[in-house]
Symmetry: C2
Subunit: 205 residues, 2 copies
Amino acid sequence: MDHMPAVEEAPRAPGRLRSLRVDEAIISATLDLLAEGTSVEVLSIESIASRAGVGKATIYRRWPGKDALLHDALSTLKSPGPELAGESVREDLIALLGQVGPTKQDPRLPQILPCLLPHMGRSKEHYQAYQEIIEPRRNRVREVLRRGVANGELRPDLDVELTMTVLIGPILVQRVLRWHPDLDADTMPEQVVDLLMAGMAPQEA
Amino acid sequence: MDHMPAVEEAPRAPGRLRSLRVDEAIISATLDLLAEGTSVEVLSIESIASRAGVGKATIYRRWPGKDALLHDALSTLKSPGPELAGESVREDLIALLGQVGPTKQDPRLPQILPCLLPHMGRSKEHYQAYQEIIEPRRNRVREVLRRGVANGELRPDLDVELTMTVLIGPILVQRVLRWHPDLDADTMPEQVVDLLMAGMAPQEA
DNA sequence: TTGATACGAGACGGTTCCGTATCGCTTCCT
DNA sequence: AGGAAGCGATACGGAACCGTCTCGTATCAA
């Protein structure tokens, strides 16, 4: 974490040590509030302090402001994602797309990530932090697609980058925005993959 | 507009009439601010009044609050969309998907609609208003797809509702969020349609 | 002309949050 | 033991916005 106490050299601090539990409480309270639907713009230091059971000064002692705190909070969300069976591209894709929803690691993550999206376009800092979080996840999908292209499960001329977005985009808008009132976001991964597989398959059906 | 002066019956008001230009100025200022990236939550009556060159009281005289004003402002955005050539499903879809971007009617519309998305999930009122705006647009896509199913350009067992979301979702996330840094949102409509056409085609490639 | 209402401007008290500072108390190092 | 810093709590002045209200002026119908 960029603005956390430097653990580097030896110039020992004289007084009391900063509590790790307090760090965790602040980060966790931040993520909680985000997961509950508080937007980045409305999120306030006071609400975080209150939720964490912490004084405001304790937060300002560690981070210069909301942006830096948010950056560190988001950094804790980097996670590898689910195990893959690896037997078929179709099943692996469905598994990966399914975890745009609740995850075992941190159940708040799927709640938080989509809610951050709108804010990312207005802050280079946060846009980059966000990309760092989702890039590993995107990469899992990329690897599955490339594997499929390599072993013949997918057509050789497939545009992998485009396909990733076509796979994830619909599920994202549906989960976050209930964009289409009549579709069920939970069954979408399988439906989307099957719809696209026909187009991604090497030759005919 | 729901909260605008009732033009119904005859009980004439005695004094000065409300200016239509003021109505337009307020609505327009609201849409301007949204198009510039101001989120719904941060949007304030004071900023709207200032932008419109209008007193706050003039706004409160017409609408009870921000929600009602926003509802009416969004209602003015309903638009039919572009003309369609009607020669091929592929071309019509590309045309429709392209106008998720800049439109001739109101260039602010494509800027505004996506930015509203995150807020819609938190307000039943606004969620419905939003659905009313995009449903006509969604319906254009629906009709093109059904036409394609009917005339054999698309496979007969196509899930039209799902396909709509798979077409629009990726373009939405890319335009609004630059979700994938390496993809070009302007060329996506054609790419997405072509990628899906292979899957939507009746039989083999 | 007169009375009623709309208008732009802005004062008003209330609320929320900002970032800083202070106050006892606790916890750590020497 | 004692000094230094962390801690929760809270007070502080400042800023932004809320929704109401009151000015002086402009515009309407009768």
